[in-house]
Subunit: 461 residues, 2 copies
């Protein structure tokens, strides 16, 4: 299996990018070339445990480096939005040991069968804002959190069905009827582990940023191949799609102030003090002006998917909690995403109003049953940060994939070259690829993950 991953530097000469949330222009975290990910154990709770390589070295086929599991490599786009690179990525092999816990919360890890592993693969993209600190921390931390969370439930994952009880030195088969009634499957434990890992990683980032006096946040898009399934966990506005000969299937949804409007308005309804009297919870088609006072205008509140009219009062003239449309939509005038990691200290400019209460770190997880697909050699998953999808639709990306791969079957680096070509096509160099000659001025990172024969290779344990 060979996965391609490519990022490139911003091509200068175009107009400045669309405004993004205010970000510190000097972050103390230096720019770092993509790392060889070796060892970690830096997650909380594992600090005392002996370190071991839970993510193995990666290589970039495009550069011909000899990395054992044929993952990709990255170049950097830095769209002049920050002094340092804000996109980060990580990929590697996940090695999950079968561990046993005692009943006590903080008991140390006991290795019962050190030779027994469940192995999988891990790809992750982190799109930072307000500096690269959170994205770098996430790239260095999340896989460790995930490994720990998976190891905590691996006994249930390898059982025919997760048992009600997981304790002591054996799987207790009690109450199978309740587990069966609820329809709880091994994949639900992986989903739960991904959800918990994102939250744990967010806490780590919060502590590390505070300790080092740094700022920032990032989105997170993770794909994990495990036991013949591909799990895609997303918190933010990156996107993963499945491209096959006759099918394009989204594997993630974007979480932005627009897509999560009702959740965010609902929170402001429950906790109006979060707006400090400076914002209005209501949505209007545009910012209201003094002239609108007393007029009946279109609006939406937290309980409404539809629109209605209301008579404009003075409090409606405040700045809206969510404002703008599409790429310009902002939460509290500040942030373009509504889920992600970090941002613990982020406040609305010149106020004490915090954004973190409105943000979720928990991802939405979708499961692709790779073993059930009749895979063709050119079936791939394309993961990319929002810069790609601002310019190319799912269908356009699928067209590029289908036109590129069949003619390059003999090229061992074709997935990296495809990732590279996808990014090139967002730079306005290709004719007729993007609608109305759209060009991206954002950071872009792309993974191309071939699925063919992945099920067989990655499901062993």
């Amino acid at each position: 299996m060979s996965a391609g991953w490519f990022r490139r530097r911003f091509l200068p000469g175009g107009p400045l990018p669309a405004p993004r949330p205010p970000r510190p222009r000097s972050s103390p975290v230096p720019y770092r070339r993509p790392r060889f990910l070796r060892g970690s154990g830096s997650g909380p709770g594992t600090a005392d445990a002996p370190r071991r390589p839970d993510v193995r070295p990666v290589r970039s086929p495009a550069r011909g480096r000899a990395l054992p599991w044929n993952a990709g490599y990255a170049e950097i786009i830095n769209a002049e939005k920050s002094e340092f690179n804000e996109d980060q990525a990580a990929c590697g092999q996940l090695c999950i040991r079968r561990c046993e816990f005692g009943a006590e919360e903080d008991q140390e890890w006991l290795t019962s069968c050190p030779e027994e592993f469940l192995t999988g693969h891990y790809w992750a993209l982190f799109d930072g804002h307000g500096g690269p600190a959170a994205a770098i921390l996430a790239a260095n931390t999340l896989h460790s959190c995930l490994r720990r969370q998976l190891e905590a439930v691996v006994e249930g994952m390898v059982a025919t069905q997760p048992p009600m009880h997981l304790s002591g030195h054996s799987i207790c088969p009690s109450d199978p009827q309740f587990v069966e009634e609820k329809g709880i499957r091994a994949e639900d434990l992986v989903i739960g582990a991904l959800e918990s890992a994102f939250q744990e990683c967010d806490e780590v980032i919060g502590r590390e940023l505070e300790a080092s006096g740094q700022m920032g946040g990032c989105t997170a898009l993770v794909a994990v191949s495990l036991q013949g399934k591909l799990y895609v966990a997303n918190a933010g506005d990156s996107r993963a799609i499945l491209v096959r000969k006759d099918e394009v299937r989204p594997l993630s949804s974007e979480f932005t102030p627009e897509t999560e409007r009702q959740r965010i308005q609902q929170l402001a309804f429950v906790y109006p003090e979060l707006l400090a009297g400076e914002f209005t919870r209501l949505e209007f088609p545009r910012r209201l002006k003094g002239d609108d006072l007393g007029q009946k205008v279109l609006f939406r509140d937290h309980h409404m998917r539809g629109w209605s009219y209301k008579c404009v009062e003075k409090s409606d003239l405040k700045y809206p909690l969510i404002h703008g449309q599409g790429r310009q939509a902002r939460l509290l005038g500040t942030l373009a995403v509504s889920r992600g990691l970090g941002d613990h200290q982020l406040r609305v400019l010149d106020t004490n109003i915090q954004l973190k209460p409105f943000l979720l770190s928990v991802p939405q997880v979708t499961v692709l049953d790779v073993d059930q697909l009749e895979l063709q050699e050119e079936d791939v998953v394309v993961m990319a940060t929002d810069g790609l999808w601002d310019v190319l639709s799912n269908e356009q990306v699928a067209r590029l994939v289908r036109s590129f791969l069949p003619g390059n079957r003999e090229d061992p680096h074709r997935f990296s070259e495809l990732a590279q070509m996808l990014i090139h096509s967002t730079q306005g160099k290709d004719d007729g690829l993007t609608e109305e000659g759209q060009v991206s001025y954002d950071d872009i990172s792309v993974f191309v993950i071939p699925l063919h024969s992945q099920g067989q290779r990655s499901s062993g344990h």
Copy 2:
């Protein structure tokens, strides 16, 4: 257009129905035969306006009564769950006047063009619990609330696009670009009106129940045909489906403690005092016992779609906020639905713990663009309360529809007879229709709404 609607009395002799929430066995609201709906104006804010027939008389084709718009008629199932009938229904023609508002909130209705109407059709099913009071109030009130809400926005509905401003004596065409950017359509105003009408009706029911010292709640499933579209609004566990020759399409989703688990757990997380220390927010596959203390068991919290394991503490042994599976799932051990109207006074037995904070009255609205369908003569919408869907799947209902209608083309009452046949097939009298000979012991109400030529007939204004 001829719509069939049929309910029948419980067929005695079967086992008692599955336990439902505790309900008062004697409600002061008497059993009422289905009503001829004439006039109303009983909604709040219209009390001072002259009364007029906003819902026209209905008729039952099965009984041959001469009703002007060929709607259905009802018989009653009373599954021995309550002293009085708990299913109620309403249907009729919606006549929406073009009214004008001044800028002031409470200004009286001014009729500018009394001859100008937007007309539509309305069908509604209300499945009561804790007595029939809420269901009867809803059947008598919701259409008036909806008419009022629609009249408040009708100027926007009949415009090419809803204008940003709706005020004074004319449509103000200001800011069309913002309305267009947001993609606000006339149908969004109807969705908003349905959402507001349900909430207004819930408030009316709350006041009326309190004033009369009555109790109870109900689910609400409403279909409205307007301007060539069919709107289906659902709050509860009734269901509507579209059945065509080659297609079965759900037009609603059910709202139960299971389907709304995360919303309900989230609320208990934010307001733990709602549980008064008597319930645990967490979900487990079964109720935990003392023996489970200290064990690692499967659980889910509000942020989790997946499952994980946790070490059982004493507080986990409390009764779960949501407990049970499928038909047996209960909110606070009491209620089987999570959305609906009424229940303002409902409390957990022998406690002061209220259920209303966990319930939503706002419906989910789906829109079927009837004018865009290439309708066949046998395309119908089937609306029914949960008793039907407990026993028949969407596909089984579709099979019954397709086997019945073509052979009965000349029968003017065929839609009522189809509704009747659908109910019969839940009573264990038909061979092989239901899986494992399942039988329903619940109240059941069914509307069968033929769509053919409805678009043309109902879209005039």
